[in-house]
């Protein structure tokens, strides 16, 4: 298939339909409203159902119902809307329902701003809702990666029977880039023999549920779903990394911010400073192991995020105290400039930061 020019939010919809998503339940919010707009037209044409829900809460619970009935279903929103969906996400995790949730992050807390942000990192990677659970979180850095990882997300959701998050930001949602729809590698998926589609009075009822009143039974359930999370940590870590072996300064950044970081890295190279980058593509599970590849020359690790410093906690775990870890952050919807990142790189390389 040849390349087409698409806006990030539209690419979410197109990729989901390509991946066999037939049900979208959503609620409008800036900067992700083009996703329900796109789906309201494209999904019925693809034989699916688009429904604008009365609230973000209703939307995620409709996804819960549809997923329990065996459908490939999704919702999309932006930060304050994703907060409202946390109830549904933890119930889906508890009831082991596959679904895909897209977050085009904007500034917070509260109503915040409508500009791009990465301040839902904690919420996305630490659960967000109540209880012990994890969700795979893909953090695309381009419209092409939106296409690739939205498509992959549906397979992974079905494979693990678990919600999967796409954690992008308002900038990627709004920008236009050329994309290609490539068939993802085939994954053998388990049969959906647990769905509630009617017994036809030929089998025992299937029950979709996250309630376990006896503590020991819930503990067993917790430990069972934890086996899935361990498998995800083992098999689903994705990242981009280069230049680590001989870097003076190693940068860590995800999503939109990583593109600005790469510009600053090129500018640093012209000044004779060697840099390397670790760009987590899955922010959960986090690529802790790759930090072992940082060479002896490195003077420090610089984490660049559009928040007050959230991923930096994971970076510190990865670095394990072997190097100083510095932070460069913008907040509230402010996007970092290459110049400010370059300044920090120079300071770290020169030993003045």
């Amino acid at each position: 298939m040849s390349k087409v020019l698409m806006k990030g939010n539209e690419a979410v919809g197109a990729a989901a339909i390509e991946a066999g998503c037939k049900f979208f339940f959503g609620y409008p919010i800036t900067p992700s409203s083009e996703i329900p707009e796109y789906m309201s037209k494209a999904l019925p044409e693809a034989g699916g159902v688009f429904l604008q829900a009365e609230s973000e809460i209703a939307a995620i619970n409709m996804v819960y119902g549809a997923a329990g009935a065996g459908a490939r279903a999704m919702t999309a929103s932006s930060s304050p809307g994703i907060s409202l969906k946390q109830e549904g996400i933890t119930y889906a995790a508890g009831a082991e329902l596959p679904c895909v949730i897209v977050n085009m992050m904007r500034g917070g807390p509260g109503l915040g701003s409508i500009q791009p942000s990465q301040s839902d990192y904690f919420q996305s990677t630490r659960g967000g809702g109540n209880g012990d659970y994890r969700t795979l979180c893909y953090a695309p850095a381009s419209v092409q990666e939106i296409v690739d990882y939205v498509m992959l997300a549906f397979d992974k959701a079905d494979y693990y029977r678990n919600p999967v998050l796409i954690c992008a930001d308002g900038m990627i949602g709004q920008m236009m880039e050329a994309v290609e729809f490539k068939e993802p590698a085939h994954i053998d998926l388990p049969p959906k023999d647990w769905t509630t589609i009617g017994t036809a009075e030929k089998r025992k009822p299937n029950i979709i549920n996250s309630l376990y009143l006896e503590a020991e039974v819930l503990q067993d359930h917790n430990r069972d779903i934890d086996k899935k999370y361990k498998l995800m940590e083992e098999n689903e870590v994705l990242y981009e990394a280069y230049g680590l072996e001989d870097a003076d300064v190693v940068l860590v950044s995800f999503g939109t911010t990583s593109r600005i970081v790469k510009t600053a890295m090129k500018q640093a190279e012209k000044k004779g400073i060697k840099t390397g980058i670790i760009r987590p593509i899955t922010i959960w599970p986090f690529p802790y192991d790759v930090f072992k590849n940082i060479g002896n020359k490195a003077k420090g690790v610089l984490t660049v995020e559009m928040n007050l410093g959230q991923m930096i906690d994971d970076v510190k775990i990865g670095v394990s105290g072997k190097l100083p870890v510095y932070f460069n952050g913008t907040q509230g919807g402010v996007v970092p400039t290459p110049a400010s990142i370059l300044e920090d790189i120079e300071k770290i390389a020169g030993g003045t930061k």
Binding site: A53, E54, G65, A66, G68, A69, A73, A200, N209, L211
Partner: protein, 248 residues
């Protein structure tokens, strides 16, 4: 020997956890019998609430989903839109439907969602130990209205059937009671009609069932039924509010 009465095959063999004198069991029976008699048990997907009937998913002998508190109509919407040819119902109490889940039920009705909702109104939060519900009567003492509910502080009890009946997408709305054998028969008739409303593709249907809670009301089972009759029915009049068959 002929069998004159047996447990409906619409119910599983799991023993009910309900308190002595609670009328949830009767309402479960009516729902189960209605599904069997209409031949839809094998096509049914039920959605259980949070509250006393949270474990309803263990009792109905059909596929079931357990929803978050109040969200059953949204979950049912997701199921019905995915499986439009199947029969989808929610079973919800007054805390679930009339308090935390008002948005979900109002908008499911508003969309004319082809689902059937059984709304059990016992004027109290049972599972959590007898707190005030939106449907708690004026003067009624609960653990969070220890001096009795007042209009000034909490407003009047919400009349869900009357409210839902104002919505065009709701094609069948009836309030029934299970305090006497005669009323139980009428309740079953209403439940069956609410199910037919969905099967005929008419739209949203709701049956509000006035139900007794002897434990949290502090009465014997018999006295609880008297209290329901003497206090609830005068405020929550029984009868039909919308009927697709009569163009009402």
């Amino acid at each position: 020997m002929t069998i004159v009465y047996e447990k409906s095959r619409g119910l599983t063999d799991t023993p009910l956890h309900y308190c002595p004198g609670c009328t949830h069991g009767v309402i479960h029976k009516l729902v189960a019998e209605s599904m069997v008699e209409l031949g839809i048990l094998g096509d049914a997907i039920g959605v259980a609430p949070v509250g006393c009937s949270v474990l309803a998913y263990n009792y109905f002998n059909c596929d079931m989903q357990e929803a978050a508190h109040g969200r059953a109509p949204a979950v049912a919407t997701g199921i019905k839109r995915t499986l439009p040819d199947k029969f989808v119902f929610t079973y919800q109490g007054d805390g679930d439907l009339a308090s935390i889940g008002t948005a979900e039920v109002v908008h499911a009705a508003h969309r004319g969602e082809k689902i059937s909702t059984i709304f059990v109104n016992n004027a109290i939060y049972g599972m959590t130990g007898g707190q005030m519900a939106p449907t708690t009567l004026i003067g009624q003492k609960t653990t969070t209205s220890p001096l009795g509910r007042t209009v000034e502080h909490s407003g009047r009890p919400i009349k869900i059937s009357e409210m839902i009946a104002t919505i065009d997408g709701a094609k069948f709305v009836e309030r029934v009671s299970v305090d006497t054998p005669a009323n139980i028969r009428k309740a079953k008739k209403a439940i069956k009609k609410a199910f037919k409303c969905q099967l005929e593709g008419k739209g949203f249907a709701l049956v509000e069932v006035l139900s007794a809670c002897p434990t949290n009301w502090g009465f014997t089972p018999v006295k609880a039924l008297d209290w329901l009759r003497d206090n609830m029915i005068p405020y929550y009049p029984l009868g039909n509010f919308r009927d697709f068959e009569e163009g009402k």
